[in-house]
Every structure is written in structure tokens, then in C-alpha cells.
Amino acid sequence: MVAKGRATRLPEAYLPLPPATFHILFALADGELHGYAIMKGVAVHSEGTVRLGPGTLYGSLKRLLAGGLVEEGAERADPERGDERRRYYRLTPLGLSVVRAEARRLDAMVRAARRKKLIGVRPA
């Protein structure tokens, strides 16, 4: 969950991130996105295993905005969809550090799992 007292906290203090939070930050690493683009990005990156609904997505974004991990960009219409104006969101430097730290943590876990031959080995 997003921690309080953001000004003094190290990125590692936010770890481990809840799955929905990590996927949102991970999707925003591509750049500024609106809600639906984040939702699509999460579905693509997770190969369809994580599907965020509007409530979960905006609930998480509210906490991330309050924690200073994400900030709002300018409101504008999506050129691809060409409809109503939408709010865009982007990572803050702190948000980027936190998602990097979480990715490193997960990477270490995966390497440990490989060493233990829990993954990367064909079952007999």
C-alpha cells in the first residue's frame, strides 16, 4: 500500500507493492496514459492474468496520487478514440524509483526460484 510521509521515505519503504499498484505503475512506465489505456496496458503486460475494473483502477490511482507516486497530466481527448477529454496520469520520480525497486525485488525472487529449480526446468 502507499505509505504516508512520502517526503522522507525511501523507495524500498513502499515495498512490497500490492499487485494492482505494481501493474499500474508498470503500465505508466511507458509514459503518460489515461484510465482506459492503463487498464489495457495492465491486461497486455500481465498476459491477461490481471484485469482491473474501473473501481479498482481509480481507487488505486487515488492512493498513488495521494502518496506522490503518480501525478496528473493535462486533460485532453485521446487522438485514437477522438471522444471526450480524459485525465492523463504519469509517474513521478518517486513512483519510477518505487516501480524499479519492486521490479528488482521480483527479479531477485525469480533468480532465487531458478536457483532452487522451482522455475525454468521442464517437469520430468
Binding site: 484510465g35 482506459y36 487498464m39 484485469r51 482491473l52 475494473g53 474501473p54 473501481g55 479498482t56 483502477l57 481509480y58 481507487g59 490511482l61 487515488k62 478514440r81 471522444d83 471526450e84 480524459r86 485525465r87
Partner: protein
């Protein structure tokens, strides 16, 4: 009813502040989902309802917690002001008891009167202590302030029993202030059954003290009659002064 209208109804499960901030964006996102998926399938609506059921209670709980924190901060400021008022009234109570003592010492004083004044001073000192305890916020929390306020209430009730001629203002301060402060001190910081029960118990205990003390009317008019016997008053004036002290119906007041 369209799918969007149903979704707008479902959005009512979220806190009003959240709806005001993100409601429009959520509807836009839902509209996008409707374009890409078949809204007539059970799976689509199961996913929508699951999302609302999973996220709305958490956001409601978060909104209540924030509101609770704000109320607690307001209560803390009120408690500080109440503590300062208690300090002032404690000092005033001591000064008032001293004045009472000086006035009473000009005539003959009986033991009950002396004890009542001493109890009045004691109750005021306890009020002073309660004010200090609330302001200082000791490491034992609010417990010392609560105990001191109960003791002050008990002293005041005893003083009222011994001295039924106590002024209305003194009674209001002596009973009203500790009861009000005790309600505030027992007010739960978080909603809980224990907090609610403690408030009810405190009200019963706190309000029964002045009620019991209110029963302490003199059973005869002797003392009141003796008070006015040397004053230059007419018989009617004497009777109008003494009558309120008689609680027995049909008692004939014999004036000296």
C-alpha cells in the same frame, strides 16, 4: 435501462467525494469496456459487480477513517479549550468558596456548613487538576482526568447534600462541567460498542449524582425562618422567603 445507466446506479456504492472526483472518468472507462465487450453476457456483469464489491467497501472504509481523523482533531481542539475553561472555573470555585467562608464566618457557623465549604474547595481543586491533566496529556492517557472529574462530581454532590442553599450557578458549574467533560473524555475516538456503552454508563453515573443531590431539600423551615428572623421584613415577605424551603404539603409555617 441502458448498461451505462445501470453502471451509474452501481457507482452510488462509492463514497460521494470519490464519485465527484472520479465518477465521470469511471463512466468513460465503462463506456470503452462496453464498446469492446458484449454487455449482454453474464460474465461481463459479474466482472463489473465483482469490481464494485471489491473496491467500494475499501474506499468507504478509507473515507470514514479520514472523517474520523478530522473529527478527532476537532475534538482535541475543543478539549484544549474546555481544559482551559475548567482551569478558570476551578480557580473561580476556590475564590467563591473563600468568599463564602468569609461571609459565613461573620455569624455562627455549624459543622455542616464548614464541611460543605471545604468540600466545595476540594471539588474546585479537583476541577483544576482535571484541567491540568487534560492539557498535559499524561502517559496514562485520559484516565487521571476521568478519575479526578468523578471525584469532583462526588464532592459536589456531598457539598450539595450538606448545604442545600447552594446557588444555581454553583450547581451548574459543579455538576454540568464535570458531566460534559466526562462525556467528551469517554467519547470514542473510533466507533465501537465499548465506547458507546461507556458513554451511557457515564451518563447514568454522572447524572444520578446531581439528581440525588437535588433531593436534599430541608425537611423543615426552621433554618430559613431563623435566617430572616432579625431582618426588618413584613410577615408576608418572611413567608415568601421561607415557603420554598418547605417540601411538605400543608405545613403551617410558624414565624417567630
Amino acid at each position: 435501462m441502458s448498461a451505462e445507466q445501470i453502471y451509474r446506479l452501481l457507482l452510488r456504492a462509492y463514497p460521494p467525494d470519490f464519485r465527484a472526483e472520479y465518477g465521470r472518468e469511471m463512466v468513460l472507462l465503462f463506456r470503452d469496456q462496453c464498446r469492446e465487450r458484449d454487455v449482454r453476457t453474464l460474465g461481463f456483469w459479474a466482472a463489473v459487480i465483482c469490481d464494485v464489491a471489491r473496491s467500494a467497501p475499501a474506499l468507504r472504509a478509507e473515507a470514514w477513517r479520514v472523517r474520523g481523523d478530522e473529527n478527532t482533531r476537532t475534538l482535541e481542539v475543543i478539549m484544549k479549550l474546555a481544559a482551559m475553561l475548567t482551569l478558570l472555573l476551578g480557580v473561580f470555585g476556590i475564590a467563591s468558596a473563600v468568599v463564602e467562608w468569609v461571609a459565613g464566618s461573620k455569624g455562627a457557623m455549624d459543622g455542616r456548613y464548614v464541611l460543605a465549604v471545604v468540600l466545595g474547595v476540594f471539588a474546585s481543586v479537583l476541577l483544576l487538576g482535571a484541567g491540568v491533566a487534560i492539557l498535559l496529556q499524561t502517559r496514562w492517557g485520559r484516565q487521571p482526568a476521568r478519575l479526578v472529574l468523578f471525584a469532583s462530581l462526588a464532592s459536589m454532590a456531598a457539598a450539595r447534600l450538606l448545604f442545600p442553599w447552594m446557588s444555581i450557578f454553583s450547581q451548574l458549574v459543579g455538576f454540568g462541567l464535570p458531566v460534559t467533560l466526562l462525556i467528551a473524555l469517554y467519547w470514542p475516538r473510533k466507533h465501537s460498542a465499548v465506547g458507546a456503552t461507556s458513554i451511557v454508563l457515564m451518563l447514568v453515573v454522572g447524572l444520578s449524582a446531581p439528581a440525588a443531590a437535588a433531593q436534599a431539600k430541608p425537611r423543615d423551615t426552621t433554618r430559613a425562618a431563623a435566617t430572616v428572623k432579625d431582618l426588618a421584613l413584613t410577615a408576608t415577605q418572611r413567608q415568601s422567603f421561607v415557603r420554598p424551603y418547605s417540601v411538605m404539603e400543608g405545613v403551617r409555617i410558624v414565624m417567630p
